[in-house]
Symmetry: C2
Subunit: 231 residues, 2 copies
Amino acid sequence: MNIAVFGTGAVGQIISEKLVELGHTVVIGTRNVADTLARTKPDGFGRPAFGEWHKTHPAVRFDTYDKAAASATIIINATNGSGTLPALAQAHPKNLAGKILLDISNPLDHSQGFPPTLFVSNTDSLAEQIQRTYPDLKVVKSLNTMTAFVMVNPALLAGHHHVFMSGNDPAAKASVKELLSSFGWPLQDIIDLGDITTARGTEQLLPIWIRLWGALKTPIFNFSIALGKAG
Amino acid sequence: MNIAVFGTGAVGQIISEKLVELGHTVVIGTRNVADTLARTKPDGFGRPAFGEWHKTHPAVRFDTYDKAAASATIIINATNGSGTLPALAQAHPKNLAGKILLDISNPLDHSQGFPPTLFVSNTDSLAEQIQRTYPDLKVVKSLNTMTAFVMVNPALLAGHHHVFMSGNDPAAKASVKELLSSFGWPLQDIIDLGDITTARGTEQLLPIWIRLWGALKTPIFNFSIALGKAG
């Protein structure tokens, strides 16, 4: 499948590595190709700068948002939440219409220090903002409630744990379910919460996710839903 | 122990039943004793009206907020979120100073229909509002992320699952931990998230909790945190 990944940070890199491993044709989108390649500093978590990473992952194409979107069937939004709507604007509506957008971003606002807050929440969500702005895009929110290493390798964790999904288009959700399944997610561990407004719920998991990271001293964890004993 | 439970709804009733079973002296607080006893309609979930329930639970005393608080060591806030600050105002600061408030409420706003939103969230929380209003009260937020039947009987669910705790006073948190342990919570399943600001995280679990109730078609579930495989 032709997949575009928006976002050049750790999440975009880790997702792209997995997609290439699964045999997909992957193009990473960015605002300005030359600017992104000129970055040389590793990120705060020790991931290499994009230019360094890209040298060792030549199978991943790299292009502007509009060209990346034009060639893709599915677009994965792994930008910072605040970069999402600007990135989609640069991708241009004509390259988005009818496509699936798997939105794995979160509306984190780091401007006031730690802990980050959400720049949209409660009565709205980033996923809904995207869907309202691009009604022809099939937005599916998923994977946004865990670290990228768990997104692409759920077997990292012990026992069953869950990934949530929100979206208005049943066929788009079925396609994303297949993709998640190829990442290693058992179908029974994918919980379809309903339409795109249910993304308010998963985006509002971020505040406790950040505090759990502090309490557990590792980002390698995930939410699981415990159910009543059978019988 | 002398425990006051604020709130006459299903949550207050279920918690009080458990506390009596454990041998505590329990008094339920309300705004107006006569008005509450005069209610005859069952609630939306088929729980009996308070007056009916109270007839079958004579061990539970029933009094105004101020008198209930005056006799208690621990106060459990099981009011509707919107009723919390008015209830505490009626309890009077002199009856609250130095006491532990176990806050199990949530700031749900049902005024705009389904799904409810939160009347405080993101940059603040109901627990923080309480703590700011009554600096001498030792507020511990816990149990607010599950249905009352699970609060008092965690063994209802299969496997390990978790209860979160937020608060500024370590001794108050230790007392609440003991109480949770007496309800059946294994100590390793109680996650201390940190100070009272971490209650923003647990209160913001409500939006997904409500959607999970819809998706799973039962309120008998809870959040569990899956960790990396040992070794």
